[in-house]
Symmetry: C2
Subunit: 348 residues, 2 copies
């Protein structure tokens, strides 16, 4: 086992300081100590000060497990995101932490990896850990919702964000995908493109559905017709974007611009265009969605729609706390989005 003897150390079971130790030490009972630590005014100021001093002296640290067990609620909130390393999600997480940390709630973060089975497991794990609530953004795969319902049936507050299912009864926070997509498409139109395509994800996911609607609205409003052969679904990765644009430009009727429902797909599109020697934005316009960090670093810089991820996290956490306090409400909150115009689309 151990490479050398002197590397091995006997880890003795550390005796933790409990409220009983403090109680014995001060000649009071555990209940008094408990109340004193909670700041309960039913114990005299003198005793409270004594307890606080002694607990500091002994290095007392509350056993959250015991506390949660007794109180029946764990002060832990579970969060399930598709991928932790997506700019958008990690910023939502930061927003959630911003609100949760000061309140003493602990955040348990897990990734579904865009995989339904892992998402289901994650929910069960969180339930087993008796989390006080669950925050979730659905994986692209997720088409069955028993696991979500299971959580709700247990009475665990649920907040959905970004990738939501509108039919599930829970608080929801979403981006204004519709307006973002609408503005993006309008911008392409104003920039003089006529044959505007749309590369998107699974339309059954609310976020992508709304983006499609925004795109469609802008088109019809400007009297442009959507050519359905310019609309590619399940096209959200770099590779898929590349394949789609290569494919689209082989056809008789070619688009002269494309609004992608994600920056990665837009990146793939730019790859393809560069390879084919097509000039951006002169000959072809590209707009993405999400404002991934790379979007302003690539050449040409990518016009995209910014989602206010941090703000969304803040709202999500706030909604969760409200829910946990029993003020359950099903309202959908919408976070505004913003078009960021860069080089890939503007030929004003």
């Amino acid at each position: 086992m151990c490479k050398r003897l002197y590397f091995c150390i006997q880890i003795e079971k550390m005796k933790r300081i409990t409220i009983n130790d403090i109680a014995k030490n001060l000649g009071v009972t555990a209940s008094t100590v408990s109340r004193a630590l909670a700041g309960n005014t039913r114990v005299s100021l003198r005793t409270r000060e004594l307890v606080l001093a002694k607990s500091k002296e002994l290095g007392y640290q509350q056993n959250v497990l015991a506390s949660s067990l007794r109180k029946g609620t764990s002060g832990t909130i579970g969060m399930i995101v598709p991928r932790i390393n997506r700019h958008f999600f990690s910023n939502v997480i930061s927003g959630v932490e911003e609100i949760l940390n000061p309140t003493g709630y602990t955040l348990l973060i897990t990734q579904s990896g865009e995989n339904l089975a892992k998402e289901q497991k994650a929910v069960d794990m969180l339930l087993a850990n008796h989390v006080g609530g669950i925050i979730i953004s659905l994986s692209v795969q997720t088409q069955s919702y028993e696991h979500i319902q299971r959580a709700i049936d247990r009475g665990v507050p649920l907040v959905q964000f970004d990738r939501i299912n509108p039919d599930i009864k829970s608080s929801k926070v979403i981006n204004d995908n519709f307006t973002g997509a609408y503005l993006a498409t309008k911008h392409l139109i104003k920039s003089g493109y006529k044959e505007i395509g749309h590369f998107t994800g699974t339309l059954s996911l609310n976020a992508y559905g709304e983006r499609y609607r925004g795109y469609a609205k802008a088109m019809s409003e400007s009297g442009l017709k959507i050519n359905e052969s310019f609309v590619y679904k399940d096209t959200i990765t770099r590779e898929a974007g590349y394949n789609a644009i290569v494919n689209a430009l082989k056809e008789e009727n070619k688009p002269d611009a494309v609004f992608c429902a994600g920056d990665y797909a837009a990146l793939g599109v730019l790859d393809g265009l560069k390879e084919m020697g097509i000039k951006v934005p002169d000959e072809f316009g590209v707009v993405g969605f999400a404002n991934e960090p790379f979007s302003e670093l690539i050449h040409p810089t990518l016009t995209t729609v910014e989602q206010n991820a941090f703000e969304m996290g803040v709202r999500v956490a706030t909604a969760m706390i409200k829910n946990m306090e029993g003020k359950y409400d099903q309202e959908i909150e919408t976070i505004s989005t913003r078009l960021i115009v860069r080089d890939s689309s503007w030929r004003g």
Copy 2:
């Protein structure tokens, strides 16, 4: 509170199924159920099957809190990283999850935000939650280590990774920063640059110290002298990289290449060079460290050192499990790094 009355639902305290419910239902005691669920052969096969069936029927889910309280160990592992949205760290996390998930351990992820106070708080939070172990990568700010020692003193297994303090007695997993930096610098030398600078972080952090050593070794080995005025510390952000290069090129003696201890700084350097109209790689060579996703997307593409983050996560988790099983050992594991040559440095 609630906007409309029909949105408000009375969340009744859901009565969870406990082992007692199963016990009563089957006419046995809770202890038998507990043992049966644990697969203890001291209870008859028949009873075990009965219990399993009934628990499935009633939808029993273990109360992890009660179990942890009784057993004195929580099956939860805490992980503290500086920033969750750094490519490197989120990949380490994925690696850790890869190992931990199948074992049933739960991972509690927190960010220190490169901030000592938050890091200390995070440690205390994890201790209060009675985690079975702590995985940590230190923040750049961290110069005092009482909080780390506190955890060790409690007998909580600790694994440090990447940003470690070698003096703390714990398992450690690090990148081969030395070799990575050595190869990067050698490469610049081979590419014909002579006045090679180095932009780095806090040298007291092991990772940066080692990179400096690798840089120095390559230089001296090739008979080149390090010009200390070309070495900039605390230069790991884009902005700092920009400022440093602008500053460095104002001086009489100018570097003609720079090895940055991070890709973000290298990005800032490229910004500065572009602004000053200096051609890369013809007039100036740049190498980064970390292989951030953007490094292959920018123009010119950035030569950098790849760290095997996922592999590191796997090793970290493995070390942690070993530790938790009492096989404590202090060995330092090293994960290999690899130079990726791109356009920013090669004028072979």
